[in-house]
Subunit: 217 residues, 2 copies
Amino acid sequence: MKSFKIGLIRVITMTDKTMMEMHGNQIMDYYPQLKVESRCIPDQYEGIHSPETKSIAIPKIIELAKQFNNKDALIISCADDPAVKELNDCLDIPVIGAGMSVAGIARYYGPVSGVLGITDYAPPAYEEMFGKDLINLGRPKGVNGTLDLMTEAGEEAVMELAQKLKEKGAMSISLACTGMSTIGITNKLAKLTGLPVIDPVLASGARCLYECLSRQI
Amino acid sequence: MKSFKIGLIRVITMTDKTMMEMHGNQIMDYYPQLKVESRCIPDQYEGIHSPETKSIAIPKIIELAKQFNNKDALIISCADDPAVKELNDCLDIPVIGAGMSVAGIARYYGPVSGVLGITDYAPPAYEEMFGKDLINLGRPKGVNGTLDLMTEAGEEAVMELAQKLKEKGAMSISLACTGMSTIGITNKLAKLTGLPVIDPVLASGARCLYECLSRQI
């Protein structure tokens, strides 16, 4: 079996190892060909939820990326794709952003998609992929960061927003926060709306496996 | 390991079992989670290389698709995506076309792509994905069908056309015939051009695995 060594960066500081490794473990469960080692950036307990918190995280991500050894690819587990371009420019291995992965997979289902994340702005990959055909209704009510998704009210607000995106004509729902993968809401949203809903962690793994294999054939 | 049963349809009649099963075997080699059973349509020894040959093939593909039992997904191993829409409308499992798979993956590398197949027209998925930003310089010199790719002259013509697509500004090369996967030219083209070159069989497998997994999470 062709298998690959992957470094995964969480853009939120987590002291609980199980939580910190959750996305990496999900990826290994979905794609056993990927062997994932997870790390998280320091001193950023609320993750990335604004242009400011993204700016602060970028140098930390670059620093952390350089500490991985002997990896075939890196995954930045954030829909905002922080430092992805910078790292692809300076490293020899592919660096996969969750945002670009979701947007690329969503485009398959048609040119109109609804973005569902934790910010009022859409992350850059979603804007770039769908342009004026991106439906953005802002963030779910009461959700100001990834940790808010872990509450019952947060989950309900996400469900409500998904339904609104469908009503506005979305052909797919592009999840725009990897915290959506943490709470396992993707399938609930797919059942609720009947639309393809793209899970950021599942999409990152798919893209990563493709990129690794494409260098071997 | 989550694994899936896949039916794969070759749109060219082949009496040699090894040749007929080649794409399926490539997919199983790349993605061991996919267990592929291959079949080919009858009485079409030159495959699909025109709107007419596509029309003739469509009812044969639909008929063959219905003969598979207990599959989690089907792959139509042709960049023209013949019968893909029709089958997705009438079957409960995902039906993956090589063309849509390539185009979706190529779009990740940017909005301008060069199409490289065996017809002067671009297959529908490539047109739909890239619109006016698709660079189409027609088919490689002297290539009139998938079997012509298996000659030295055919391979040289493909290499030459890839270089021209790059000169015209392609950010990626979207291969548009699964016969390109048969001759294993993808990596040679990537080395020659320095561009991402999307292999139709590798792309179909990636998309298929994603679609199967997305129904399970």
